[in-house]
């Protein structure tokens, strides 16, 4: 019990929670934007891979981390556009298209990696984002290590929470996006384009998702390897429901998952001799499922989610 208390009091636990939550924050925000507009994007897992791979590759080739970030976002936008064209004007099944995008993106990235580095056995490394060192703030007790010694991408994620919140709750564009996910007829009746709004939201949301992938290769690690996304995209799809499609709650959900994961690692070292490690690996997922069950009861789905809309039909 004392040990557990010690974990919760340690700076490193909270710092790790936020670090682990970062890719999820990007992912949940991205999924939230797509779904608010009425499009489920199951391409998220593949888009994570694309962001991880392209961000890392461009950084490796150019030496510029920020060019890598831009490349990751563009890769995400590309796959998002693909998904949007298939599901919005063409009205194909969002599930099938999304899973297809995931498989396609994952395979294409493996192919690109193998083509670019046919001979290597250990993946080439880049110089990743380093922890910020802000004078005074970084030296604060507790808050310093937890908040102000994170990397720039973590801060970008927190900034995005504020930005998406402002967009969705405080801008005319956000009102239109939410309306198009609830009742596209209402949007059409006001002379706005349902297709443009939906495609735009999916493309922007997918770019955000890709940044989550980029965080993995450019901040959490320093190289790309297969399987590194490891279901984080799927977790985001669940967390959006937990978050009731609200950016603030999305942050909360991602942090909660990050905490469970950070806790799991520490429990393993604490009690690993008694209980098999796999049990602890399970903890964040089990706790997430429980949290989801509790939250999803009153989940308030966008009414037009999954429903294709065609011009000229009522």
């Amino acid at each position: 019990m004392m040990d557990l208390l010690q974990i919760f009091l340690s700076e490193s636990f909270w710092a790790a929670s936020l670090r682990i939550a970062t890719p999820l924050i990007f992912g949940v925000l991205g999924a939230l934007m797509c779904e608010r507009a009425g499009v489920l994007n199951l391409g998220i897992e593949g888009i994570f891979v694309a962001g991880a791979m392209m961000g890392w590759l461009v950084t490796y080739l150019t030496g510029s981390l920020w060019l890598g970030v831009i490349a990751a976002a563009l890769a995400g936008a590309f796959f998002g556009l693909f998904h949007a064209i298939l599901t919005v004007p063409l009205g194909l099944s969002q599930h099938v298209s999304g899973l297809g995008i995931t498989m396609f993106a994952t395979a294409l990235m493996s192919f690109t990696y193998r083509t670019a580095f046919p001979q290597v056995s250990t993946p080439p490394r880049i110089e990743p984002f380093r922890a910020l060192d802000i004078p005074v703030l970084s030296d604060l007790p507790f808050l310093g290590p937890v908040l102000f010694q994170q990397t720039a991408l973590t801060w970008l994620a927190l900034l995005m929470v504020a930005l998406v919140w402002w967009l969705m709750d405080r801008s005319a564009l956000g009102v239109a996006i939410k309306a198009v996910g609830d009742n596209p007829d209402a949007v059409n009746a006001q002379g706005l384009s349902v297709y443009r709004l939906r495609i735009g939201a999916v493309v922007a949301g997918s770019a955000l998702m890709a940044l989550g992938g980029a965080f993995l290769t450019m901040s959490a690690f320093d190289a790309f390897f297969f399987g590194m996304v490891n279901g984080r995209g799927w977790i985001c799809i669940a967390l959006v429901i937990f978050a009731s499609w609200q950016p603030g709650k999305a942050l909360l959900g991602a942090l909660l998952f990050g905490m469970f994961d950070a806790l799991q690692v520490r429990l393993q070292t604490m009690a690993g001799a008694i209980v098999p490690g796999q049990v602890f690996l399970m903890v964040p997922y089990v706790l997430s499922i429980i949290a989801l069950i509790l939250a999803a009861r009153k989940a308030d789905y966008p009414r037009a989610l999954l429903q294709p809309w065609f011009k000229g039909q009522r």
Partner: protein
């Protein structure tokens, strides 16, 4: 203006004029062409011939380009649809402002919009809570939001499509008072309805449509209710000779069946109905008055809140589809494409889908394809179901042939009760005559038939007894006179 859909002329050379500050009522039954006409006005449909002319505030004439909704919006024409176009997850003010604010400008100044809306609400008497979400509002409030949405866009012409269909009488009175006030300030209103009483009380002028034609137009103050009803439901023409049935014992009884009105339905008010062998009971009424609830109860899809159903010698509180079938209720659904067939399955499969357990369809869990095919060949020939063949998908059949397939499936089991809900809607003359003939033949074999129809001609030509449905209540009428049935349909007491 004229609009054809395939062989059907939905609007046939209709002329309509609307003056400034005038309320024009557009009256007609379902399918009379009211909505088609308004959709052409709004550019939702492109007219086959004819044009829309609008005079602006300075008296200049503009011809609206056909097929462009944006042109109607720019000419400051607003429409309140019967089915609201509101985003339920957004606030009232967000819904009203949607489309009026530039999307990409970062800042947003809503003070002016709010002031304008508050002034509008004070002026019109149509009040809605601006910051509440649509989903928290009642139907009446939602409609006020729709009208405010149009007024906020400074419309000069407002079209209301059956505005009172979903309102309580009090809400309807409030709405009319508010609209009267706005008309006094120069707004022009077109008001679509099939409620005669409302139209007489509220409009300045009435235009009546029937089967896509304008059958009459008059100033309301000089209008005569009987004349309007004749225009709406047609002059009596030579009804086909109807042979009387020979009613036997009761096969179905509804005993004070009640369904509380829900969000989308009128519900049923203590419906009392006796159906005997060898008779066709016709249920007349304007659609949306509880017919679908009645059909739902009889086909086992809706559970009544109270009351009982006696069928096949048993007294039940509710039917299920399985009970309906086992108690000999044959069902011809209103939406034959959606509820009548499984479109992706073959004609042969659709013909046996209600009796998959019977011995001539399956043996020990294996379908008897050969027997099914024989059955399908025989029934297709007997009922003249034409299509690409019994093994092709039912989706490939035309509407008339789908209806014949359903008739074959229902009638072959020789049900004691037949529920025929709008059985000839959308069918051409030959197919509908065939349906009528089959229903009479079933009656003569001893079945009791409940015929729900909006087409009074059909009821008059087939039914042995006539009941009229209005606001969920069922009233029997001895009369076979169009005008008095029409009065009942419009909600007047006999």
């Amino acid at each position: 203006m004229t609009k054809r859909f395939g062989p059907v002329t939905a609007a046939d050379h209709i002329d309509l004029e609307l003056g400034r500050g005038e309320v024009l009522a557009l009256l007609g039954e379902n399918g009379a062409g009211k909505t088609t006409l308004m959709n052409m006005l709004f550019g939702q449909y492109t007219a086959d011939s004819g044009s829309v002319h609008v005079w602006d505030a300075e008296g200049r004439e503009h011809v609206l380009p056909p097929g462009q909704p944006q042109a109607a919006i720019e000419a400051r024409i607003g429409m309140v649809h019967q089915h609201f176009t509101l985003a339920e997850n957004l606030s009232v003010i967000d819904n009203i402002l949607l489309g009026t604010e530039p999307l990409l400008r970062p800042g947003r100044n809503r003070r002016a919009a709010r002031e304008k809306l508050e002034a509008l609400m004070a002026e019109s008497g149509l009040v809605a809570p601006l910051d509440a979400r649509i989903r928290e509002l009642s139907v009446g409030e939602r409609q006020r939001v729709e009208i405010l949405k149009a007024l906020y866009r400074d419309v000069r012409i407002l079209v209301l499509d059956e505005p009172t269909a979903v309102l309580t009488p009090q809400e309807a009175d409030g709405l009319f008072a508010a609209i009267r006030g706005m008309v006094g300030r120069g707004l022009s209103v077109i008001f679509i309805s099939h409620k005669l009483r409302e139209v007489l009380a509220f409009s300045d002028r009435i235009a009546v449509l029937r089967h896509g034609r304008k059958t009459g137009e008059m100033v309301t103050s000089e209008a005569d209710a009987d004349a309007i009803i004749r225009m709406m439901i047609g002059e009596a023409h030579d009804a086909p000779e109807r042979t009387a049935g020979t009613p036997g014992e009761t096969v179905l009884r509804l005993d004070t069946v009640t369904i509380r009105p829900g969000r989308d339905s009128r519900g049923l008010k203590e419906v009392q109905l006796d159906l005997r062998r060898g008779e066709i009971v016709g249920i007349a009424g304007v659609s949306g008055n509880g017919q679908s609830a009645l059909a739902g109860v009889l086909s086992g899809l809706l559970v009544p809140d109270s009351g009982a159903i006696e069928v096949g010698g048993e007294r039940l509180t509710a039917l299920t589809p399985r009970l309906a079938l086992s108690h000999g209720v044959g069902r011809i659904p209103e939406d034959r494409h959606h509820d009548g067939i499984v479109a992706a399955m073959s004609v042969a499969e659709n013909l046996v889908i209600e009796r998959l357990g019977s011995a001539d369809v399956q043996r020990r869990g294996f379908l008897r394809r050969g027997a099914m095919a024989e059955n399908a060949e025989a029934l297709s020939a007997a009922y003249d179901v034409r299509g690409p063949g019994i093994h092709s998908r039912a989706a490939l059949l035309s509407g008339g042939n789908i209806q014949k397939l359903i008739l074959a499936r229902v009638l072959e089991t020789d049900p004691a009760v037949i529920l025929a809900n709008q059985p000839t809607r959308g069918l051409d003359f030959r197919a509908s005559a065939e349906v009528s003939r089959r229903l009479i033949a079933a009656r003569d074999r001893g079945a009791g038939v409940i015929l729900i129809s909006e087409d009074l001609d059909e009821i008059l030509s087939l039914a042995d007894r006539i009941l009229v449905m209005h606001s969920g209540a069922l009233v029997e009428t001895e009369s076979r006179d169009r005008a008095s049935i029409g009065q009942l349909m419009a909600g007047h007491a006999a």
